[in-house]
């Protein structure tokens, strides 16, 4: 009996708001005023945003030139696997009717290239690319090692399939004088990619660092000879390489190839006139060349 009287108080549930389900609360109610005001606010916002975006999109100019068909003979050449290292060039003229102001970017655009395949996207070695261990190729199947078991650098399907067409844009001041449009090969990548995700083993002598490794089967040159003109743009830090190594979400994608160096004739951008570009053709699939100026962003 003593037990029950002791229980008496202890068994009475607490009178807290939580336990009695009386927590102060706001009840959500779909009242007409509230819903309609939210509706109209959202509508106004979206309309404004939309018109701003449309206006800004109009202000950007873009030219897209598909050179796969023009370079059909090169494509044919490539189809035979044995000819993969034969050089093939073609040249395409085009006319820019209006001048392109501000920053001008040059992209290459691939159509139907599935960089998002599961096995493709995983076929890379971040440990290798960060320069820690150039021989870490475990994740790179099916391009881990060459036939004689030498580890491939950079290993993996992504690196192997790197876009390596060279595109040179020329400006025809008149019918006889043709000058090369200066393109910057820097600033194409994310800061974190260039300074964190991709690191060369050391800066001294890349060729030494990569000794004991071999180049990917599709590559004409090893990783330390990607940019013969600029020695710093070599190895894992080559900007084209970094751009390529960030796989695209969809089979049709464009990647930044170069920025216009605004000097001499091109201080304001690309003037109107006749241009042509010369391509060293390597890729198999549908490729476009894309020039765009992004003056305002949006």
């Amino acid at each position: 009996m003593e037990e029950t009287s002791q229980h008496c108080l202890s068994r009475l549930p607490d009178n807290s708001a939580l336990k009695q389900q009386k927590l102060p609360a706001h009840r959500l109610c779909f009242t007409a005023t509230r819903v309609l005001s939210v509706f109209f606010t959202m509508a106004t916002f979206c309309l404004c945003m939309g018109s701003i975006l449309i206006v800004s999109a109009r202000s950007t100019q873009a030219i897209e030139i598909n050179y796969t068909r023009t370079c059909a003979n090169c494509a044919k050449l490539r189809e035979t696997a044995s000819n993969f290292d034969k050089e093939c060039t073609c040249s395409i003229p085009f006319y820019l009717s209006e001048k392109m102001m501000g920053n001008v970017y040059m992209y290459y655009k691939l159509q139907g290239f599935h960089q998002n395949l599961y096995r493709y996207i995983r076929s890379r070695s971040n440990r290798q690319l960060v320069g820690k261990d150039v021989k870490a190729v475990e994740d790179c199947s099916p391009f881990k090692t060459s036939n004689n078991k030498t580890p491939i650098v950079p290993c993996g399907a992504i690196a192997n399939s790197m876009f390596n067409d060279t595109i040179i844009l020329s400006y025809n001041i008149n019918s006889s004088v043709q000058i090369k449009v200066p393109m910057l090969k820097t600033g194409l990548t994310w800061w974190t990619d260039k300074y964190i995700k991709f690191q060369n083993p050391s800066f001294k002598n890349l060729a030494d660092e990569f000794r004991g490794t071999t180049k990917p089967p599709n590559w004409p040159n090893p990783i330390y000879e990607l940019d013969k003109k600029d020695p710093r743009n070599n190895g894992f830090l080559n900007e084209d390489f970094i751009v390529w190594m960030r796989p695209a979400a969809f089979p049709t994608f464009k990647k930044l190839y170069g920025r216009l160096n605004q000097t001499h004739h091109f201080i304001e951008g690309l003037p109107a006139g006749n241009y042509s570009f010369n391509i060293t053709y390597n890729i198999l699939l549908s490729v476009s060349f894309w020039i765009e100026n992004l003056a305002v962003g949006f």
Binding site: Q20, R27, F30, H114, N126, S161, K197, A249, G297
Partner: protein, 1126 residues
């Protein structure tokens, strides 16, 4: 018994020790056993299979941690829960095992722990001690080696049961000493605590079906994608072969498709998230705690809070359609109070006003003041002063009446430490009578086997007890034969009027008819009656009789028959003294509860072992039967044919009348009547009641009549089954459960309700007077019937509402989350590439989105508890299963599919041609993944914000917190530091920083959110505005009436407090008296309704007729000992 003794020595090694184990694990066995049990669950086993699939490198499309992290988390949570449960079981085991008892060791009494008691030990037990094991009684301090045992923990009965020691052993010692017979797990209690049937809710079953459907859906998606993969590989994939060789041994597109199928099964498995089952359990646990914590279901007088003993059935409480209620102890208090008596043709206990009209007993009226008497029991109130006056005047009949009450019973008396007299009673009726007599000055003091000492108006008198002619079910009476100090021998008898009236001396005829009238009056008020008679015995006659009795007692053949014959022989020519009327008090608030539950369209069936008249009276008292009813069908046939005929007639009657009002209100259509205008509907179909007794029920439950009975019973508003056995109770419940497909609830308090409680979907035990058995078998328990209203209308309704909302949201969320992979499949060559980061997939369900939906599932309220109580119609959607059914599920799934579509294709459109502000590309896979993940988290958070209708601070913390946690984890996992350590595991370095600083990404997220949420908002808004449900209306009303609301609740509160202030016993009496009088007055004023059946029912209650009808009640054989309370 005697056989058991010699065996004990030889078989000692076979017995276990007396330690009780209810716990499942110990420290060593916990891990293996618990894991084994957990992986027996289908869901866990399924996820284990998935995990194994993921370990196969060819088809693994997700890294192993995406499954193992949630799985480990889930299993750990369950294990922790199991461990705590078991810890408490260990604790209670230890408590029991360490109880002390005195054991004879080395011929000395020593204190020994229970667990060390061995078979063959001799134990000394004292009064009010717990019994350690199954024992054999050797001897006791009471004469004749008697001892009284309470078996509440065994069968739930608190009545004392008499056990007698073998005469050989009884002389051995003065104290109760007993021999242990069975120990530990072999004891009756442990043997009987069989595993309770595992109950599942209908939502559970629906959920399982849906999960199966989802698996089917999953396999369909897998097949579509696998075919897609095969086609893609053969058409387009060829061009890729130079970049991506086929692995060894998988050089065909069909085989690639096959592997892709499994890969997609792994990826898409998140449509059935592992956290679903755990979350459901957590929510139910939360709801159970709310029930335990509810102060409004706490009964302060007994210090009993409501208890949810099963934590898995809560939402089913919101779907109850049928309640099966026991009467005694559930609807009534099982407290008997002496209310009236008729002595020598005069009624005492009625209160008359000045005009001689009977009036209601109210608290204003002064009760008889007993304070002058020394031994007054508390809580006794009697309102008629005339009885006291008669006693003081010395009316011999009155004195004899009270003397009889004091002498003729089986009550045991004892004095407690304070010197107060305490009565140990076998039946509460008897206790009420003895206590009443005591209050009128005839005090039963003590008894020995040969004498009874009483105090008659202050003078102690000792009567010699010559014989007790005990009660049994066929006799329905008991008598004592005593010799008073003057030497006269008297037989005092009390018993059922039907029986006793047959035994009267012919000279009693006038008094008999008068008393009969009084008895029917008492019975009409729902009082339990006993007739009282005595007989003067001749000394010589008695001696002869006594000798014959002794002969009969030692006879070896036909002993019982001979004794019964002798009893019959002496119990005749009785002189009628009068009758007593004892009130079987209704529980507090029963009437309100019944009214409100029937407004909620819950049908209440009363299943009782009591006799028909009592049951009907209680039915009237509780408002279940009213005089407004169109018809009350009484089925009381004794043969199958009679029963069938009666049922057929009743049905004809019902449908005949019905067709006048509305043609074709067939029961089957009930489900489709979704409108909440139940009131209208009921007046159309009319109110009917069905009363059936156990004997007829036995016939009616036979296969071919069963459907008739069910159809009839379900058309009736009230069904009362009387004289039913515990088994029949269960059969009735099973019948409704099986053929009506309705959710049933059984509520009861005694051991006889256990079968019914176990077979109903939900069993509720009243933790009240008759012990523990019902509570132990029940799923919920509380102290008062009236709490049922709150349990169902508030807790049940909320639980159902919350669970449905939770499930809707959960399925929506996971479809939205998972199906983007399907859409993405068409763009990634069906290569089973996931859209999101692997870590996001791992954490999405268990970290980013689990808490807000749990908070909603636990705390959400559409309307306040007060409103749910005030408006029982709100309960309808649960009964009709409107909030979560297959249709609802499809809507949720479509919503999820729509959201996934928007989630995928808006970013797709945006990323198709996008470039960053600095010209750098942002349409890469990783940015896309981050954009999608962020949009998804925001969309589902906004959605849960819209779904949550009751925003407490917890919801705020959880919703905002989840979003904050998402972003912090995102930035942490995309940080330089973690990449430096695990470059392969966290390849998304810098992504969050880059993507989320782009304005266009935020615009994409915004657009996605708006596009996926706005249609839902619009739809809901229109629905609430154009087709508001009742709860919507109440919510709006609630908002509008915020100021008026406190006024309202105050009013109800004052009404309640006034009834509480009226005091203890009176709180019940007011409602009860009001009802009785209203019912009775109505019957008196309004001429009996047109129905013929009711008339016959009245006639049948007439005692004269009963008297003429000499048939003994055959049904009595099925009713238990408890029929003492006639």
């Amino acid at each position: 018994m005697s056989n058991a003794l010699p065996q004990t020595n030889t078989m000692l090694f076979l017995f276990q020790d007396n330690r009780i184990h209810t716990s499942k694990y110990n420290i060593l066995t916990f891990l293996p056993i618990n894991l084994f049990e957990q992986f027996q669950r289908v869901a866990n086993a399924y996820f284990l299979c998935l995990l194994i699939l993921q370990l196969i490198p060819e088809i693994s499309s997700l890294t192993w941690f995406t499954t193992i992290v949630p799985l480990v988390l889930v299993i750990t949570m369950t294990a922790v829960k199991d461990a705590t449960d078991d810890f408490f079981r260990h604790k209670s085991d230890n408590q029991v095992n360490n109880r002390q008892s005195e054991v004879l060791i080395d011929s000395k009494l020593q204190n020994e722990k229970w667990m060390n008691v061995k078979v063959g030990d001799i134990i000394k037990l004292e009064n009010n001690q717990f019994v350690a094991a199954d024992l054999l009684l050797l001897s006791s301090s009471e004469p004749h080696g008697l001892c009284y045992v309470e078996t509440a923990e065994l069968d739930g009965e608190t009545n004392l049961k008499v056990r007698q020691a073998l005469s050989v052993t009884s002389e051995l010692g003065a104290d109760i000493s007993r021999l242990a017979r069975f120990d530990g797990p072999d004891t009756k209690l442990m043997q009987n605590s069989g595993k309770t049937k595992f109950k599942r809710t209908s939502i559970d079953r629906l959920m399982n079906t849906l999960v199966l459907w989802i698996f089917g859906f999953l396999i369909c998606l897998g097949i579509i994608l696998a075919i897609g993969n095969s086609i893609w590989e053969s058409q387009i994939g060829d061009q890729f072969r130079t970049f991506l060789f086929w692995n060894e041994g998988e050089k065909s597109s069909v085989f690639s498709g096959f592997l892709t199928f499994w890969s997609y099964i792994i990826i898409l498995n998140t449509v059935v998230p592992i956290s679903l089952y755990v979350s459901v359990e957590v929510i139910r646990l939360g709801h159970s705690y709310f029930i335990n914590w509810d102060r409004k279901m706490y009964y302060s007088r007994k210090a009993t809070p409501a208890e949810a003993r099963t934590t898995t059935l809560n939402e089913e409480l919101g779907q109850i359609e049928y309640i099966f209620s026991d009467k005694t102890g559930t609807l009534t208090q099982n407290i008997m109070t002496f209310k009236r008596c008729s002595i020598n043709g005069k009624i005492y206990g009625e209160v008359h006003d000045d005009l001689g009209q009977k009036m209601e007993v109210t608290q204003e009226k002064e009760p008889v003041n007993f304070s002058v008497k020394s031994q007054v029991g508390r809580e006794f109130q009697f309102f008629d002063h005339s009885l006291l006056e008669s006693i003081e005047l010395g009316d011999p009949k009155v004195h004899e009446f009270l003397r009889l009450l004091t002498l003729c019973h089986t009550v045991m008396s004892e004095e407690n430490s304070a010197g107060e007299l305490i009565y140990q009673v076998q039946s509460p009726d008897e206790g009420a009578l003895v206590t009443a007599a005591r209050n009128f000055g005839f005090i039963f003091k003590s008894r020995t086997p040969e004498t009874i000492t009483i105090e008659e108006l202050g003078t102690p008198v000792t009567y010699q007890l010559l014989a007790i002619l005990d009660f049994n079910n066929t006799r329905k009476r008991m008598s004592v034969i005593v010799r008073n100090p003057e030497g006269q021998i008297k037989l005092y008898s009390k018993g059922a009027d039907t029986i006793l009236f047959e035994k009267l001396h012919p000279s009693n005829e006038d008094l008999l008819s008068l008393t009969s009238d009084h008895l029917s009056e008492f019975a009409g008020e729902g009082l339990r009656t006993l007739a009282i008679a005595y007989r003067d015995l001749d000394d010589k006659y008695f001696k002869e009789w006594h000798k014959m009795l002794e002969d009969a007692n030692v006879a070896t053949e036909e002993r019982d028959e001979r004794i019964a014959g002798l009893y019959e022989e002496i119990e005749r020519d009785l002189m009628l003294l009068g009758a007593t009327a004892v009130e079987d008090k209704l529980q507090e608030g029963v009437i309100e509860t019944v009214t409100s539950l029937s407004l909620a369209n819950i049908k209440i069936w009363v299943l009782t072992g009591d006799k028909q008249e009592t049951a009907i009276n209680i039915g009237y008292a509780c408002n279940m039967l009213t005089d407004d009813m169109n018809d009350v069908f009484v089925i009381a046939g004794n043969t199958a044919i009679e029963v069938r005929e009666e049922l057929r007639k009743a049905k004809e009657n019902l449908f005949g009348q019905n067709s006048n009002f509305s043609n074709g209100h067939v029961v089957g259509e009930k489900k489709q009547q979704l409108e909440l205008d139940s009131v209208v509907e009921e007046t159309v179909t009319g109110d009917y009641a069905l009363i059936i007794n156990g004997h007829s029920l036995a016939h009616a439950l036979e296969s071919d009549v069963k459907n008739d009975l069910l159809e009839l019973a379900c058309m009736c508003k009230t069904v009362v089954c009387c004289r039913v056995t515990p088994l029949q109770k269960a059969q009735v419940v099973e019948l409704v459960k099986k053929y009506r497909n309705a959710v049933t609830l059984a509520i009861g308090d005694g051991a006889n309700d256990v079968s019914m409680i176990k077979s109903a979907h939900i069993g509720v035990g009243i933790s009240g007077q008759e012990g523990l058995q019902a509570v132990l078998a029940s799923d919920y328990s509380f102290a008062q019937f009236r709490y049922l209203q709150r349990l169902l209308l508030v807790h049940g309704r909320w639980s159902y509402f919350r669970m449905c909302k939770f499930l809707c949201y959960f399925f929506y969320k996971n479809f939205a989350f998972t199906l983007v992979h399907f859409w993405f499949g068409f763009f990634c060559g069906f290569s089973a590439q996931t859209v999101y980061d692997q870590w996001f997939i791992t954490l999405f369900n268990i970290v980013y989105t689990s808490l807000p939906v749990l908070a909603m599932g636990i705390f959400d309220q559409d309307v306040s508890d007060q409103n749910s109580m005030d408006c029982p119609q709100l309960y309808r959607p649960g009964q009709l299963n409107l909030l979560f059914n297959k249709r609802r599920f499809f809507i949720c799934v479509l919503h999820g599919i729509y959201t996934s579509f928007v989630l995928f294709f808006i970013p797709y459109g945006a990323f198709y041609n996008v470039a960053g502000e600095d010209g750098q590309h942002i349409s890469d896979y990783q940015s896309f993944a981050v954009t999608m993940a962020t949009s998804l988290v925001i969309v589902v958070s906004v959605q849960i914000a819209l779904d949550t209708s009751y925003w407490t601070f917890i919801n705020h913390v959880f919703i905002w917190g989840s979003i904050a946690i998402y972003f912090s984890i995102l930035f942490a996992m995309h940080s330089n530091g973690i990449f430096g350590i695990f470059p392969n595991q966290f390849p998304f370095v810098g992504n969050a920083r880059h993507s989320l600083t782009q304005k266009c990404i935020w615009l994409v997220i915004l657009l996605t959110t708006v596009a996926s949420v706005m249609p839902v908002v619009a739809f809901r808004f229109l629905k609430v505005d154009l087709y508001p449900t009742l709860s919507d209306q109440i919510r709006q009303w609630q908002k509008a009436q915020k100021k008026a609301k406190p006024l309202r609740s105050r009013r109800t509160r004052t009404r309640r407090s006034s009834s509480r202030r009226s005091g203890y016993a009176f709180a019940h009496q007011e409602g009860y008296g009001e009802l009785i009088t209203s019912g009775k007055n109505m019957r008196a004023k309004i001429p009996p309704p047109t129905s013929e059946l009711e008339k016959t029912h009245y006639n049948s209650t007439s005692w004269i007729e009963n008297l003429c009808k000499k048939t003994t009640d055959t049904v009595s054989s099925i009713s238990q000992d408890k029929t003492v309370k006639l």
